[in-house]
């Protein structure tokens, strides 16, 4: 039982489905977020190539999925339990760019105090954007618990959790979907099907007809949407959000997209992705498509897109330099935040560590490259 693919704009930006009634402001906000996402992505790729940061995760190609989904949320009430390939959500909701770069550099001002790898963001404001961990699928039951809490308190908020096609094979997907179904939790499951889990193509990931159908196993309705069509994603997720808010329970949204690059800066996709696939999906670029439609509707003026792009690139350059210039976090941050209150044994270890490096500082050699 495969699902139809919801599409509103075709690959050329022509309207093929009923466009949602959305204010111009919101449309432009989505467009700007997509452009900023790409600019940030490119800036990070560059910083990695020039050895200034250790790692990044290409977001090229998946901007519409992240941004379209994020746009369906209300920051005053909702939560995001994100995938790492979700820069677009950050830009749509206007998370602090400086804090994002602070994370990429792991510097003193990083909210996670340089403890996390790049792209493992964590924000409370303006919308709770749950701290990303590397183990896959673990955020899915978190979102369900977050949503259950809101339901128990009678709040109107919902939780959206995003994850990749590969992540559907994890225990977290299974338990999260099942609990959400049983408890009728107000949660939206966004499966970002970008066709690959590192080098594993979807047909080696699952024998199911698609990802939306997996909802059947949990009594959770599934829908499939063109993940490169920001309007379609926005509509599908908005409907799922509406269901959740109305107390009608969870929805699984499969956004079909493509990872236009390696898994990460450490990955060489030419080892396993047929090159023609990149060419094919380049034609379906989510930003070009949306831009074409916005222009054709007169919502973007001549040259406006270019200005937005330049502005975004300039901002990335500027802010990344600010973050780059900051010192690393103090040694004590190795020991804080393990517990609310520092236990005696950590106090002792902290003193030893600080004393050791203060008295015996030779400088350490920092080698080692991240392979993926």
């Amino acid at each position: 039982m495969s699902h139809d693919l919801l599409q509103i704009l075709d690959a050329k930006g022509r309207k093929v489905g009923r466009a949602p009634r959305v204010k111009k402001d919101l449309l432009l906000r989505m467009f700007r977020a997509m452009v900023e996402t790409r600019a940030f992505d490119e800036r990070c790729m560059n910083l990695q190539r020039t050895g200034k940061i250790g790692f990044s995760v290409p977001n090229r190609g998946v901007e519409a999925t992240s941004v379209g989904a994020a746009a369906a949320l209300d920051p005053a009430s909702d939560w995001i339990a994100p995938h790492y390939r979700d820069f677009g959500m950050l830009f749509f909701h206007g998370m602090s760019l400086e804090r994002m770069f602070d994370n990429m550099f792991g510097n003193r001002d990083d909210v996670a105090k340089g403890r996390q790898m790049p792209v493992h963001f964590s924000f409370r404001e303006p919308i709770p954007y749950l701290s990303i961990s590397s183990p896959l699928g673990t955020q899915i039951p978190h979102a369900v618990g977050i949503a259950m809490a809101m339901k128990k308190r009678g709040e109107k908020g919902i939780a959206l959790t995003s994850f990749g096609d590969g992540s559907t094979s994890t225990p977290g997907f299974h338990s999260g979907m099942n609990f959400a179904g049983v408890f009728g939790a107000p949660v939206v499951f966004l499966c970002q099907n970008n066709q690959w889990a590192i080098s594993c193509p979807v047909e080696k990931q699952t024998a199911s007809e698609d990802f939306a159908v997996k909802g059947e196993a949990y009594g959770v309705p599934g829908v499939r949407v063109d993940g490169n069509d920001v309007l379609a994603v926005y509509r599908a997720v908005s409907q799922a959000v509406k269901r959740a808010r109305a107390g009608e329970g969870p929805t699984l949204v499969e956004a079909v997209t493509f990872r236009m690059g390696g898994h990460s800066t450490s990955d060489d996709p030419s080892r396993y992705v047929p090159p023609e696939l990149f060419a094919e999906w380049e034609e379906r670029d989510p930003i070009q498509r949306f831009e074409a439609w916005l222009c054709s509707e007169g919502l973007l003026e001549e040259g406006e897109a270019e200005r937005i792009r330049e502005e975004a690139e300039r901002k990335m350059m500027e802010v990344s330099k600010v973050s780059e210039a900051k010192p690393r976090p103090p040694l004590a941050t190795i020991f804080t935040d393990v517990y609310a209150e520092m236990p005696r044994h950590l106090e002792r270890q902290m003193e030893e560590c600080i004393h050791h490096h203060a008295t015996r500082g030779e400088g350490v050699d920092e080698k080692g490259e991240f392979p993926l």
Partner: protein, 337 residues
């Protein structure tokens, strides 16, 4: 060291078994704090397989004490989510042996959330679970996994051994801002009763409890080994006319290292006892700590009395579990060194 705040020892007290004290703790804190939830397999109408949650669904409704699908990963994973968003979940894992499907959520998520988010997100939750031998449960209803959790920074690990402590430490754990693994010695669930204060009574985490005073030697233990060690210490003390101290560690992580080291220094003769296998078990940590910090005061090397380095057997479980005689031998060994 303790992060608990509330400690209103009720004037009144009731005689309870350890499992009743757990139930009482849950009921008491649930009446006090509407954000406390109880969840797990069979914790609802059935009241838990050991009846630790008996009557809670009846009193607080299905929204606050509820059965979950059969998934420990889901129980802890959703529990983490609930904790992230203002609730205080108390998750029951039916037997500690079944906690391993949740190991990733515990070790990778609950334990590391505060650290990795720079304190932006925290997980104030309790995972309670019956552990240890004594019910002829074989390989999978008898294990003692405390060392796995103790090797995981970010967790707290609490093991009561009396009804009074079960209540006081459980309420303190629920009030604690960090995730607590609360290991209940199932062998002691109904083995004796004790006066347990009514009301919102807490015992501070990360403190030890003196079970028996003494200056000739000290036995460190926890959970179901406490009465075994007490019995052994009584016997040796009587037989030799000396006094052997017994200390219940109660919180294994963060351990009250100063209390342990002071007690070790007092007599310079230490035995440490647990049910779990020896190799890389908790006893090794005690031995190493003493070597590092108190060696100059030691009169004898630390002796461990533990389960063997095998899976947990069934028919022969009472030959596997440390008994008073093995502890007596160990005490005599450190006394005679």
């Amino acid at each position: 060291m303790s992060t608990t705040t509330a400690k209103r020892a009720g004037a009144k007290a009731r005689e309870l078994t350890l499992v009743q004290a757990v139930n009482d703790a849950l009921r008491t804190i649930m009446r006090e704090d509407p954000s406390v939830l109880v969840m797990g397999e069979d914790v609802g109408p059935k009241g838990g397989v050991f009846l630790a949650t008996e009557g809670l669904t009846e009193e607080f409704g299905e929204e606050r004490c509820f059965d979950t699908p059969l998934s420990e990963d889901g129980i802890v994973g959703c529990g983490v989510g609930l904790a992230l968003n203002g609730m205080k979940p108390v998750c029951e894992i039916q037997f500690q042996d079944f906690i391993f499907p949740a190991f990733d959520q515990i070790v990778s998520e609950a334990a590391k959330m505060r650290y990795r988010s720079g304190g932006q997100y925290t997980v104030p939750m309790v995972i309670r679970t019956p552990y240890g031998g004594g019910i002829r449960g074989g390989l999978y209803h008898s294990q003692s996994g405390e060392a796995y959790f103790c090797h995981t920074p970010g967790l707290k690990v609490v093991v009561p051994s009396t009804p009074r402590d079960a209540k006081g430490l459980l309420i303190a754990s629920i009030l604690d801002p960090d995730p607590v693994i609360f290991l209940e010695p199932k062998a002691l669930y109904r083995s004796f009763r004790e006066e347990v204060p009514e009301g919102l009574y807490t015992e501070p985490l990360s403190t030890t409890r003196e079970v028996r005073p003494g200056d000739a030697a000290v036995v460190f233990c926890y959970g179901a080994m406490v009465p075994v060690c007490k019995q052994a210490a009584d016997r040796v003390s009587e037989a030799r006319g000396v006094e052997v101290r017994v200390v219940d560690l109660r919180t294994l992580l963060p351990l009250d290292e100063d209390a342990v080291l002071d007690a070790a220094r007092d007599s310079g003769r230490v035995v440490v006892v647990h049910e779990a296998p020896r190799f890389c078990g908790f006893g090794g940590e005690i031995s190493a700590l003493i070597a590092e910090h108190a060696v100059e005061r030691m009169e004898a090397p630390v002796v461990r009395v533990t389960g063997f380095d095998t899976p947990f057997p069934n028919t022969l479980e009472h030959y596997y579990l440390p008994d008073a005689r093995r502890v007596v031998d160990a005490i005599e060994k450190v006394l005679d060194f």
